[in-house]
């Protein structure tokens, strides 16, 4: 265990902040998601020693804070395509992307929360299914099934978009 210095905090911020905001955005608006992530980093800096697994700690803390925020506001985030389109971009828009970033955002927003969080943790946080299972509090097989279901849902959405564009 080592104490947390400004250099280390800055390094973690650079590495994880964007993915953490993406993770929190599924439950919260962009501004609230950023507030939650910022609070988590400030809480981290106040700790005497660094957590053993910083990545897992950060995502678990953001997840808990986002859900707590939802409960305190007494409302659930509605995962509508319109809402997702109104929000600021979840991804950077680059011409060489294999998937259109906006379409991927809409597809992600159409997923149930328990599937979407698994996708973010797996693809952009780079976690194993075991690590994801620890964070979401489910078994590894459940997490894997959710991940497969999420990929199938995204694929359907992408194919639908392609067909609509071609028509």
């Amino acid at each position: 265990m080592e104490s947390i210095g400004p250099t280390q905090l800055s390094e973690w911020f650079e590495r994880y902040a964007a993915v953490l905001v993406l993770f929190a955005r599924y439950w919260l608006d962009a501004d609230l998601a950023e507030d939650v992530v910022q609070d988590i980093f400030i809480r981290l800096s106040a700790q005497q020693t660094a957590p053993g697994h910083i990545r897992a700690w950060l995502f678990r803390a953001v997840r808990n804070a986002a859900l707590s925020q939802l409960r305190s506001q007494g409302r659930r985030a509605r995962h509508e395509e319109r809402r997702a389109l109104r929000q600021p971009d979840w991804f950077e828009i680059r011409p060489d992307d294999l998937i259109d970033a906006r379409t991927a955002q809409v597809a992600m927003a159409s997923l149930p929360p328990e599937e979407s969080e698994v996708v973010v943790l797996r693809i952009w946080a780079g976690m194993t299914f075991g690590e994801i299972a620890d964070i979401v509090g489910q078994s590894v097989s459940t997490v894997f099934k959710r991940y497969q279901a999420a990929l199938a849902g995204i694929r359907r959405r992408l194919e639908l978009t392609c067909r609509t564009k071609n028509d």
Binding site: S10, A17, L98, F129
Partner: protein
Amino acid sequence: MQNEERLTPAERELEAALGALRPAAAGIDRDCLMYRAGERAGGRRQRLWQGATAMFAVALMTSLLIRPAPRYVDRYVYVEAGAPARVADARPVHEPGPADDGVQGLLMQDATGYVRLREAVLVRGIDALPVAPGGSATVGEPLPRVERILNAVPPSQTPWNLLGVERLLAPGEHL
């Protein structure tokens, strides 16, 4: 790991395509975050010091309030009557040898001897000074120290002669 191997090629392809998307940069001001983090860490340290100071203040007040009354203890010290003083028990300050005229030995003593002599003089007075052999005017009564010194120095080496004062005088003039 086994679960990862269970993914179909199509799922892997979609996974790779999604992974190529880069999350949009967070709109969090990094400098602001670092400042607030430092502020919070500083506040924690400040509270630590404040807590420690308050704790010590309470401990000090408690110890002052419940301080036990001073105890007087009667202790008897028996002193043997006529016992020689400690300094006098020390070994002789200076024992003039056959070729020692006393004063020269006094002047040539090493630092330890000087300290011992000084202590003896403080305790016993001037009588503690060693007596120059044959230098006393009256038997048993040592001369005052200055006179003894002057008597011990040969006439040709009076202090003013040693200092070269005579050179300032006119020829035939004496002090």
